[in-house]
């Protein structure tokens, strides 16, 4: 199999050398194809691996780290295959999706264990810095079994960064974090992206917009789109989105929305929430608060309909 010309690799910003190269990788389990013929490159900066739940993002990340062997295709990190070459892990930090961490260890012990296994020279300094970086100093001596989901995520990030890796891979790192923690993590991702190759998986489009300049979209195990975030976002915006809104006067809100040019259709669901289909997402999100204020309606909750997100991603595959 010929290695691809990295200049043409999907996902690589022109002019940048890719750190990670996935060349026609596939993964199947019997008859089930989890990832199909994906060729991508990831270079310095923050790249988001985007796709709906079950699209194959975690499988791609696991193949990149060497946890899974591809059924076909090759993976190189700094020109080396990660599988069967433990020395490669000196330059890689992974925050993987699994919530469970050794519950009997304290946060500090867990980060310290990772530092020892990475043979970090100034152990105590590196451990303290990594814990401070994720703002976990106050809870570092508590057992992980007593941590909240957000705290476990942050201590996993500290453990992944303790050896100062040049490649950072994160599988849904914002899961379980409250808004303040999310903001902090997003800022951290941006900061890491200035000097490292960072690949972050997520299924939330709006979240990705805040930290990634480059995205790779995976749908049904196939590469749907890759490249500059804004260009792909513009393509996504031309497709209809469904948004679910809970308010104190749903029927008045539905009537107000019918007259808005960005609205394609409006209906009520069983829980008396308004479900709006829009063909201009940005226009809709701009118009919604204005309409609500005018009609004296209080908006209680706004969320994208999950099937709509899947349909948006599928549209990229078709388009």
């Amino acid at each position: 199999m010929q290695p691809p010309d990295h200049v043409m690799l999907p996902g690589v910003i022109p002019g940048r050398q890719p750190t990670i190269i996935c060349n026609r990788i596939s993964k199947w389990y019997g008859d089930i194809v989890a990832v199909s013929d994906v060729t991508i490159g990831v270079g310095p900066g923050v790249t988001a691996l985007l796709g709906p739940n079950g699209a194959g993002k975690s499988t791609v990340l696991k193949m990149i780290t060497g946890l899974l062997s591809p059924s076909s295709g090759t993976i190189r990190i700094f020109g080396k295959s990660p599988r069967g070459a433990p020395s490669t892990y000196r330059s890689i930090g992974l925050v993987h999706e699994v919530e469970h961490i050794y519950p009997y260890l304290t946060g500090r012990e867990f980060v310290r264990m990772n530092a020892i296994l990475q043979k970090v020279p100034n152990l105590d300094d590196a451990v303290n810095q990594a814990i401070e970086l994720v703002e976990m100093s106050d809870a570092r001596d508590r057992q992980i079994g007593g941590y909240s989901k957000g705290m476990r995520q942050r201590i996993k990030v500290a453990a992944a960064l303790v050896h100062n890796p040049s490649v950072v891979l994160m599988d849904e790192p914002l899961n379980g974090m409250d808004p303040a923690q999310r903001l902090h993590m997003i800022n951290l991702l941006r900061e890491l992206g200035q000097t490292r190759t960072v690949l972050v998986s997520s299924h939330i489009l709006e979240e990705v917009e805040r930290f990634a300049e480059n995205i790779i979209v995976i749908v049904n195990g196939k590469l749907a789109a890759a490249g500059d975030f804004r260009a792909i976002r513009d393509r996504i915006d031309t497709h209809a989105h469904a948004v679910r809104i809970r308010s104190n006067h749903p029927r008045y809100l539905a009537m107000a929305l019918i007259g808005d040019p960005s609205t394609k259709s409006v209906r009520m669901d069983r829980e008396d929430r308004v479900v709006v289909e829009t063909i201009d997402v940005r226009g809709f999100y701009r118009a919604l608060p204005v309409l609500a204020r005018k009609s004296n309606i209080r908006l209680l909750d706004i969320s994208a309909v999950d099937e709509s997100l899947a349909s948006v991603f599928s549209f990229l595959v078709e388009g």
């Binding site: 899974l68 890689i92 961490i101």
Partner: protein, 249 residues
């Protein structure tokens, strides 16, 4: 001291912490106390002329063929089994650490935790049986402890390998202990040379050097020790190879 062990053998210490106070250790303790229970029953109604014979029977018929493999398998299959089930194995394998080191430290943790627990059961049993016997019976204690150490190391190496090869390692280990070594061993004499139980029994009888036992050893002392080393080396090498090839979900 603890910091020093963390630095030298972090996976060993992590695995010891994994076991400490857990269900698996309580199960090993329960198994280790079965011979003690027999010894206590013997103490209630002792046959004063035959304490050595009683302990020999307990060791050769209960401890070495049944208790020892079952106690070793509980921890040996948990070393990697728990990490695979809890999906924490990536925290160890995605590090610049050789797979051999991971396998070896895990194996040592299992041996270091299970051996003293089983030895404690042996010690209490020995004390109960010989507490009113004025003769020197320490030879039986040393022989039993030697066979326990060799048995725990061997069973741990083999059962740890099984836990990396198949999902139902506990079931496979029980089948190996009870079917392969016990039932098939009786009908196919050649299997004695492929039996950990035979190695362990040979160590016991060789160290004891008591002709009254009349056991038919498959191995001499040297043969048993060489066999034990060969089994350990092969099991550790295969475990290392398997850990390298393992797909971790």
């Amino acid at each position: 001291m603890r910091n020093f062990v963390w630095r030298i053998a972090p996976i060993f210490l992590l695995t010891v912490r994994q076991f400490s106070g857990g269900k698996a250790v309580r199960a090993v303790l329960g198994l280790a106390l079965v011979p003690t229970l027999f010894a206590a029953v013997y103490r209630v109604n002792p046959d004063v002329n035959r304490p050595r014979r009683f302990l020999d029977d307990s060791i050769l018929q209960v401890l070495l063929p049944t208790i020892l493999p079952l106690a070793a398998l509980v921890l040996a299959t948990a070393t990697f089994g728990d990490e695979i089930e809890d999906r924490t194995l990536p925290y160890l394998v995605l590090k610049p650490v050789s797979r051999l080191k991971i396998v070896f430290e895990k194996m040592m943790a299992s041996v270091i935790v299970s051996t003293p627990i089983i030895a404690l059961g042996v010690l209490i049993s020995w004390f109960l049986v010989f507490m009113r016997d004025s003769r020197d019976n320490t030879d039986m204690l040393w022989a039993t402890l030697a066979s326990v150490v060799v048995g725990v190391v061997l069973y741990t190496c083999v059962f740890q390998l099984l836990s990396l090869l198949i999902r139902r390692a506990i079931l496979a280990s029980i089948v190996y202990s009870l079917v392969w070594e016990t039932v098939l061993g009786r009908f196919i004499p050649g299997l004695r040379y492929l039996s950990i139980r035979q190695v362990v029994t040979s160590v016991y009888t060789s160290v004891l050097d008591d002709r009254r036992l009349g056991t038919n050893n498959a191995f001499s002392t040297g043969g048993a020790l060489i066999g034990a080393v060969v089994v350990c080396v092969i099991a550790i090498a295969l475990s290392t190879w398997r850990l390298n090839k393992l797909n971790i979900e």
